[in-house]
């Protein structure tokens, strides 16, 4: 992928926080990329919604021939993670040898260096690691949202922030 400095600035805060796209009409939760129209009900009213970042690894592959920006990381594991909120997210799974990966494992997201752009620009984003925390210690997404509004506002420009491409 090639990204110009102008595009880089438009991308805004990169994907430092894991979120999903919630349709405010039919409440469907979509994966975390730009979504202009809900594929389920056709609504244009979608907002970013922070998710807890914990879930189950439901499928995975091991990439031996990476795209340019991932050269040097191969072989690496890319998984489909079913988040506890019920949305599927594709992401690298790290900290585990490809041969040891098991479908059904509990995983949680963690901020990592994702890849190197072709001009040496570094991209950070969410990767997943095995979740060793006992589930009972974790707060529910609702609790997390209540307790950390300031932090959420600091990392997101606003919540919900205007969609890119909207008139402003």
């Amino acid at each position: 992928m090639t990204v110009s400095a102008i595009e880089f600035s438009r991308l805004g805060p990169p994907k430092l926080v894991l979120y999903a796209m919630r349709c405010r009409t039919c409440k469907t939760l979509h994966p975390w990329w730009e979504r202009y129209t809900c594929g389920v009900c056709g609504s244009r009213d979608l907002v970013e919604e922070k998710v807890e970042g914990t879930g189950e690894l439901v499928n995975y592959t091991v990439v031996y021939y990476p795209p340019r920006d991932f050269l040097g990381q191969e072989p690496y594991v890319v998984g489909h993670i079913e988040l506890d909120e019920g949305v599927l997210v594709p992401a690298p799974v790290v900290g585990i040898a490809p041969d040891d990966v098991e479908v059904g494992s509990r995983v949680r997201s963690t901020l990592r260096r994702m890849k190197l752009g072709h001009e040496g620009d570094i991209y950070y984003s969410q990767k997943f690691v095995l979740d060793d925390d006992p589930p009972k210690r974790r707060r529910s997404p609702a609790q997390a949202a209540k307790k950390t509004p300031a932090k959420a506002a600091a990392t997101r420009r606003s919540s919900p922030r205007p969609r890119r491409g909207s008139a402003r």
Binding site: M1, V3, K15, H30, P31, W33, E34, G39, N59, Y60, T61, V62, V63, Y64, Y65, P66, P67, R68, D69, F70, L71, Q73, P75, Y76, V78, H80, L88, V89, P90, A91, P92, P98, V103, M114, K115, Y123, S125
Partner: protein, 391 residues
Amino acid sequence: MRVGVLGIGKTPHKIQHDKSLRDLIVDAGRLAMDDAGVEARAVQAYYLGNAGCTGFCFENSVALMGADHLGLVPSPAVRVEAACGTGAWALHLGCVAILSGLYDTVLVMGAEKMNDLATVEGTSIIAQAADSKEEYFSGLTFPSGVALTMRKYMQVYGRSEEDLAHVSVKNHHYGARNPYAHLRFECTVDEVMRSAKVADPLKLYEVCPMTDAASAMVLCREEILRDQPERPQVYVTATSMGSGTWYAASDTLDDAFALLAKPAEKAYAMAGIGPTDVDVAEIYNSFAIQEPLGIESLGFAERGEGWRGALDGSTWIDGEVGVNLSGGLLCKGHPLGATGTSQAVDLVEQLRGTAPEGIQRKDAEIGMSACRGGPGAVAAIHVYQRLEGEA
């Protein structure tokens, strides 16, 4: 509907360091026009399917380039792009143009020049057919996206990697007999299993190569071909397109099935035939798993059973339906924009009875092509029929 196939032409599928994109375009275009007995100035419109010239060749308006070099000027020319469904879309637009009554004779073509670049560059360009800025940000590639589908298929239907390896064995059996194929060797289940891992569980012999090729057809109004009874009477009798999700993550097995099944249902109705009538089919298989998925979508097998024909013979040359007797994309390679037209040209050869020895299905009368593109985004079904002696 009936659209006459007046002429066909194709280049070999292989790495062609001595050929540029324009060389391939000119080769295929001249072959098709010569086969049709049509002068360039009689071609009223030109639809060129090309998926990646801006990345692979650093050229863009290549239909205009092709029109000039083929002598089609001043007829209109346009480049068509729809990921791996590009060539099939050019064919669709050519059919629609004829059916509209606006044109009598058009040239449809697919052409792709992929091997001026290394695999890592090619993989990155191909990834642009998906959301390369967001979804593929996570290190996904097309092979790894399909590998996830393959693992899901194995999980849901309880199939092993060995079961699915039979698909590659069948394709390579025929690819070895197709002089136009890129990979011309036979292989065993064991060899498929031992081939290098590309994206687990996908292995090298289950992945198509990057290929340079072009293929073309001259299409005409039904009456024009009907008035030339000395020519092979092959017609396109259905053209049916569809779309699905642009995201691999939301491409469930049900979605992958529906992507081709919906337009296939329309195509059967359009041609007035059913799955059991089809003699030969070319089914998109840039990755081996896509062949059983396509077989199931077209109604040739129950869901979860599409791989079995490669084992029990029902999708071999003398089975119920001969699937990918050309060797499929696994052996022909996948020249993105030329794949849809290559499927069409190979099926027309089958119906004309001019396919190479060893891959010609006896008395083939009805052919069907299924092409797909993007993670699960493009679907294209065409039906071809030999209709000799009909009024």
